[in-house]
């Protein structure tokens, strides 16, 4: 069952004189999770970077082959613990698509409202952690104080703080009340004014600019060659966002921009995410204004048996395009489930970007990719 093959191991010996192998991780604050990178170094410069994955591997695709559709739902949040609601949404949407379930309007609005809140909280955690990588501690405290407000709001409706399991087939598990909506309104107003502090504190800072400008530039060929998506892609000038390209839920009815930057460096990726926060605030404001009354859950059968066939469903998570491909054989467990996770593609470009960089710059690049390792490992 297990045997060691000669070509299956990782190169850990120095290639030439004056060179050395540096093992980064699996436990390292710069990798944001259990990621190990084997670096071949020449002094402070990286010759090759070889990421080693699988420390958080749980074989989610096999788990999904052995479970009824309903029971797979809680596993979604465990893949990307920072954007659990986006993953929730992808799974409920793909099953709704296969079975043709209707979703009440109010439920769609609640879904978009909570998912966008989740997107902001994910971007704030990234903001804090990224700046921490670059050596700035204060922004982290600002970001986490604001993120705490979102977690409190979402805890009120979903019952959990991170690994939400709030969406159901044909709706959401519970309705939101007026105090939650008022709380979101207050948060949006607070954030619109407080976002200026972020920009004053970080964006214009000379040290920050020098650490991120022209560092880790993604070339045009690499964007589609590596299958990049999300802010990493939009920082390189491609205007691709699943919310626009394959509209789902109520996004076609909402008015929002897709921020795009052309430079492709760490600063561009930073700017895209910060502008996305503003757009998410716009979306939240619109859903608050238009929130319809009515039921939040339609009637769906207890045992879900999609007809034989297949379906793909893509959603935009804070990190990019998540696509779930389900093949059903008409029974109550899926025949095959394939998760195409955004961080997988975004991490695979790292070896290319790190080549020839200083070690400190490579950590800035790694931070700017906004990786969630359990999502890559699944």
């Amino acid at each position: 069952m297990f045997d060691s093959q000669e070509n299956s191991t990782y190169q850990l010996e120095p290639v030439e004189d004056n060179q050395f192998v540096l093992n980064l991780g699996p436990q390292h604050p710069g990798t944001h999770g259990v990621l190990r990178v084997i670096l071949h170094m020449d002094g402070e410069y990286i010759l090759t970077a070889d990421p080693v994955l699988g420390y958080g591997h749980r074989m989610q695709e096999k788990i999904a082959e052995n479970m009824p559709y309903t029971q797979i739902l809680p596993y979604m949040a465990r893949m990307d613990y920072l954007a659990a609601l986006s993953f929730n949404q992808a799974w409920v949407c793909v099953v709704e698509k296969m079975c043709g379930y209707e979703v009440p309007r109010r439920a769609e609005y609640i879904r978009v409202l909570t998912t966008e809140l989740n997107r902001i909280s994910s971007h704030y955690l990234w903001f804090g952690a990224f700046l921490l990588d670059l050596g700035a501690f204060t922004p982290f405290l600002h970001a986490f104080a604001d993120r705490e407000m979102i977690l409190d709001l979402l805890e009120e409706v979903t019952g959990s703080r991170l690994t939400y399991c709030y969406f159901r087939f044909g709706g959401v598990s519970s309705d939101v009340d007026d105090s939650f909506l008022q709380g979101v309104q207050d948060f949006v107003e607070h954030m619109r004014s407080h976002l200026k502090t972020y920009h004053e504190l970080v964006t214009g800072n000379v040290i920050f600019q020098m650490r991120t400008k022209d560092v880790g530039v993604i070339l045009p060929f690499d964007t589609w060659g590596y299958g990049l998506s999300g802010p990493v892609l939009r920082g390189s000038g491609e205007k691709y966002d699943v919310r626009i390209s394959e509209p789902y839920s109520i996004y076609p009815e909402l008015d929002f921009e897709i921020p795009v930057e052309r430079d492709g460096d760490c600063l561009a990726r930073y700017m895209v995410r910060m502008r996305e926060v503003e757009e998410s605030l716009n979306i939240i404001q619109q859903t608050l204004d238009k929130m319809p009354d009515g039921p939040v859950r339609s009637k769906v059968p207890k045992i879900i048996k999609p007809p034989a066939g297949e379906a793909c469903m893509a959603v935009e998570t804070p990190r990019g395009e998540l696509m779930i491909h389900v093949v059903s054989d008409g029974t109550k467990v899926p025949y095959r489930v394939r998760y195409r996770v955004p961080s997988f593609g975004n991490l695979s470009v790292f070896s290319r970007l790190a080549k020839g960089q200083l070690l400190a710059d490579a950590l800035a690049v790694l931070g700017s990719l906004d990786l969630v390792i359990p999502e890559v490992d699944r």
């Binding site: 297990f2 591997h57 082959e65 060659g225 691709y240 394959e246 297949e310 997988f344």
Partner: protein
């Protein structure tokens, strides 16, 4: 003429167009093993990005079906390419030298299904431990009694 028809012109591939509102797939085609490399080169120069390389174990028919999903940043067409291989010694040609991002997808499909991606420079396991030789996504996979015990 749709974008996909224009792109695949002259490649002798018959494309079907399933209902994308129901399946999320805009175009699909089954190709032979020899066609995948010229096809993916065409797709790369047309600017399609690689969403996923994976497989399905169709144990009843004794075949493994490779599933390649492509999409385009501006045209927004999801193209599904499938090809079949024998289940006992599954082999596909690599597209890792055309799409650099495919290398990791192929490593993953290789370890999960035991598919040999011929010509690939990197065939190490990606997510499973490097010594592992079982293929968990095969339908006849049984959990080894000492799965946790890795030398």
């Amino acid at each position: 003429m749709t974008f996909i028809e224009e792109t695949l012109e002259g490649l002798d591939i018959s494309v079907e167009y399933p209902d994308s509102a129901l399946t999320g797939i805009d175009a699909q085609a089954e190709v032979s093993v020899e066609q995948i490399r010229p096809l993916s080169r065409t797709l790369f120069y047309a600017g399609l990005f690689l969403e996923s390389v994976s497989a399905i174990d169709l144990i009843a028919d004794e075949i493994i079906e490779g599933v390649y999903l492509f999409n385009h940043y501006e045209q927004h067409v999801r193209l599904k390419i499938t090809m079949k291989t024998d289940r006992t010694t599954p082999k596909f040609p690599t597209i890792g030298d055309i799409y650099p991002g495919a290398v990791w997808h192929e490593r993953e499909a290789g370890e999960f299904f035991g598919i040999d991606f011929e010509g690939s420079k990197d065939k190490r396991n990606l997510l499973l431990p490097v010594e592992t030789t079982f293929h968990p996504l095969r339908k006849d996979f049984k959990r080894p009694e000492q799965a946790g015990k890795i030398q």
